[in-house]
Symmetry: C3
């Protein structure tokens, strides 16, 4: 439970808000590389932290991310022409390079283009993602070179879907290990839709939660009692401010994870990434992402990555499936997360919650985030900016009661 003031402080991300200022200290994923497939292709709208931007890949391959509205008379540059290393407004032909510098003015007999510069943000591209940094240039941190972003292309997979809720309830759903075996549960052996099987170690009991604060956020452990006193431990990382690394489920040598990136106060972009240490990831990852997750055929990349399953159609819940096959009757693991999180409304009223011990990871994440907004206000560096998080990975394993499980699992939480 939070005060109304704390809830506001955590959820509002526009310019000059405390959380907006914190977010602007980190690199953020802005687009899939595939959204700008070729030089001089059509520009793409990007909304981030409440700002309307437009992205374009210039003739030389550089990527611009600039204010959507032309500084001349505020026509949308999304209507613009991407040509010869710059984006040109169709209204009066003002043209901007990837740094936001005006380099041509078709409407003026005597150009004053050199005096005009529009808002632009730095971008870098790797791991199939175009990243941006929207904060003060002198405070720019190292690029977010997660180990998985450096993997060969065939061993990684990235996708995204728009969520119609504030970013924080998406993060809070993600770092909440206890719902994993409830919300996503299958009710029988061969359910008509995918779900966590009844014989999964995750379903055996409600987890005990342990959590170790770190310099980048925390690592946390869902510990589930199994038959014969064994312990099934799922070990995650929360990396400030919106990243999670999660174990893929028993039997895979993978990193799975999410970014929950604020689009504006009422929307966030859910990014899903996978990295295989076993071999090419192709159809297998798409299956995770699809049947078990985003169901890519139901995400409209032409329409801002909105899903077909949304609040207005009750996420296409099937009450018959819910009665006999899966806990929710909603298709897709990630869709189930999105459905419950969107069902809370655009910004959940956290003054009305009743948290328990199982919600510890959530409470602590809020405290870390609030403390980080305070740190930024004091002019200090918030956590999660140093490269120490690059080589993290999640882990999961079953231990006998006699084992010191944490001593064993923590070393597994780092790439060799």
């Amino acid at each position: 439970m939070l005060t109304r003031e704390e809830n506001e402080r955590l959820t509002r991300v526009g310019p000059e808000t405390p959380m907006g200022n914190l977010m602007r200290r980190y690199w953020m994923p802005a687009l899939l590389s595939t959204e700008l497939p070729e030089p001089d292709g059509p520009p793409v709208r990007v909304r981030l932290l409440g700002e309307d931007l437009v992205a374009f890949r210039a003739t030389n391959g550089d990527i611009g991310l600039i204010d959507e509205y032309c500084p001349h008379r505020r026509a949308s540059l999304w209507l613009g022409r991407n040509e010869d290393n710059g984006l040109r407004c169709v209204y009066h032909g003002w043209k901007f390079d990837v740094k936001g510098q005006c380099i041509d003015q078709m409407n003026e007999p005597r150009s004053f283009a050199h005096k005009i510069r529009t808002t632009s943000y730095l971008t870098v591209e790797f791991g199939g993602i175009i990243w941006t940094y929207m904060g003060p240039p002198e405070l720019m941190p190292a690029e977010p070179k997660f180990e998985w972003t450096q993997a060969p292309e065939e061993r990684r997979y990235v996708s995204k879907v728009l969520q119609e809720s504030n970013w924080l309830q998406a993060l809070e759903g993600g770092i909440d290990t206890s719902h994993f075996s409830i919300l996503h549960r299958a009710l029988k052996k061969n359910p008509s839709e995918e779900g966590i099987p009844l014989d999964s170690p995750a379903v055996k009991s409600a987890p005990k939660l342990e959590l170790d604060k770190t310099s980048y956020g925390y690592r946390y452990f869902g510990i589930r009692q199994q038959e014969g006193n064994d312990l099934y431990v799922r070990a995650y990382h929360f990396i400030m401010p919106f990243t999670q690394l999660r174990p893929p489920g028993p039997g895979k040598d993978h990193v799975h994870g999410h970014f929950w990136v604020p689009v504006d106060d009422h929307h966030c972009m859910v990014w899903n990434f996978y990295r295989s240490y076993e071999g090419p990831i192709g159809s297998e990852a798409e299956a995770v992402d699809g049947g078990g997750g985003n169901d890519p055929e139901h995400i409209d990349a032409e329409n801002n990555f909105l899903s077909l399953r949304r609040a207005h159609n009750d996420w296409l819940i099937n009450r018959n499936v819910q009665r006999t096959d899966t806990f929710t009757g909603i298709k897709g693991i990630n869709q189930q997360d999105r459905a419950v999180q969107e069902s809370m409304g655009p910004i959940v009223d956290r003054t009305k919650e009743h948290l328990g011990p199982a919600d510890k990871a959530i409470s602590i994440a809020r405290r870390l985030l609030l403390a980080a907004t305070d740190a930024v206000e004091r002019g200090e560096e918030p956590p999660g900016l140093q490269p120490e998080y690059w080589d993290l990975r999640p882990a999961e394993s079953t231990f006998s009661a006699a084992e010191e499980w944490k001593e064993k699992i923590v070393p597994m939480m780092q790439v060799d």
Copy 2:
């Protein structure tokens, strides 16, 4: 004409508003029994007085009506599982009984369910309706046992439709006898759509209005001069705060009536009920409700009882029918009421009205309602809570000029 303050006082129904506090002193129809047809069926959303609730019929048949949002982390319980005498949130498996008591917590190794209780409202079920009382428990009045609700099932009929306007303009349309013979008029003998026939006594002249205040509200009379000095009298009851009993039209031994129940400030649920003293009501009542009324095939019970004919499509007005066959060109008597009332906008600006003697019933209803909000603020009991209204019925008859019509009709306004 009202002041702006009076208009606000009469129309706002949320928690802690004067009218909201008054409404919360009465039993209200919440759902049709048919909306919860079986134990352990899917839960149903209910919005009443600006509160979002969810209803479910438990395994033992009891009905729960509780806060839509789980007190744990505010996921919607509409997504929930109705199982084994309780509604379970799919997010973390918290389960609630029909009284709102938490009785299970799947996510917590050590449950603290006994400490958690959510908002719940009392319900009773009779007459094909699930009723609720949302006020202070110690002030709960007798159940609203209208005589018609106790009739055999085949002699009564209930339906509902959502109206996209404030409740008060629906009530004011209902208790306004003078529009009856205008808005609903047919223009010729065999019109293509149903309407009040040209030879109906109701069409002969504008009515004189008489009104007697009672302990439950008032009874009122529309007196229309006929040929040869006869008087055609239609006698209604207005029962505080939102109920009307109305005569069915000449030649039927029926009670017809409406509840206009506030959903929120901008919507109300129009309930229609019929009771026959003649025999089974089956297709005849449905015909009243249909061709002459709600046109059930055009009400979407799967979509919050919205009508196909709505403001956004101009109520499917047919200007050719309006020119030659019926006064409005809109199909269905009740649809015509809804159309004019919705056409005023969500909350009509009553500072701009010009009322006349024909609007007396409306003026007095407003005064009664305002006085009742005052009474509740003073800690007194508002009118319409005592069972004396149970046996009321409407009446209509034609009297000769020599008769003392009121002496004759008032005794007819009570069930024998």
Copy 3:
């Protein structure tokens, strides 16, 4: 660039706003004559300066333009019956003549109709347009008898389309000669969609702008250097507060022009008119209006003259056409204007602009409009009310460098 206060003052048009008060001093086009094709036909909704009105053509041909909401209980008179020289509310049968006088009350045994008058505005009809004056009756100016409105019917053409933006960005687009040869440009000789041809004198160079203030607003000149030192001059009129006369393009003896009439703060009606001095205008004007303009088959006259090409569908931009054939990839000259103007959002934030010399006509129009709001506040007459603008016309021609072009073109800017 404006201050926030100036931007508000220029863009808000509701009752009692400074710009609303200014607009109410002028005759405005309210409907096409064809919207009320016959006496006693269905009434038509008209929204002007933020006021909801309803128009009807009475039995005798007179046109009423009155408050949409019945003064009795505020039902919409759009649902009304237009019969026997008056519009009758279907709710209680109150009837109003074209002057807003109540002339019947079906619901009252003793009528008090003579005491009831609703808001009504004066109308006149000529030139295929129904005009209205919404200001103080004692200040009513002469009717706007533009010469073209007096032309034989076969030599004039009028159409309209709703624009989903504030009126001022429509005006500012219209009086901005420099965008003409940029936004509307074709990229090759035979483009798949219409555009300004590459060999047009308008495309040769960015224009130098000259502007002469007049008693009615200003005349302005876009002067484009041609090969061999020739000057191609396009000469326009801006007539306060929302009218433009523009040259049709080389080789035609025409008047073209627009009104940009405020519907409310976020919408305006774009009126297009054409007048030929050559012969009947029939299909040729429709072609201008169509392929090059409004594309009449894509404007929904049944749905408030909305275009098929709108912000929600990105104006059906075709990126392939944009790449190779036309500057925007949007079909229709007028559609291109509307697209860029709507792309700025409902009210552009003029505190963020960067205007240059090419925007002089816009800056001066704002100053004239602000000065006129001041004049009205001081009780003085604003410009553009006297009949001196009736006989204006635009002009265009190419002059040799040696000629005194302005001495030659100004006399051409008046009808003989």
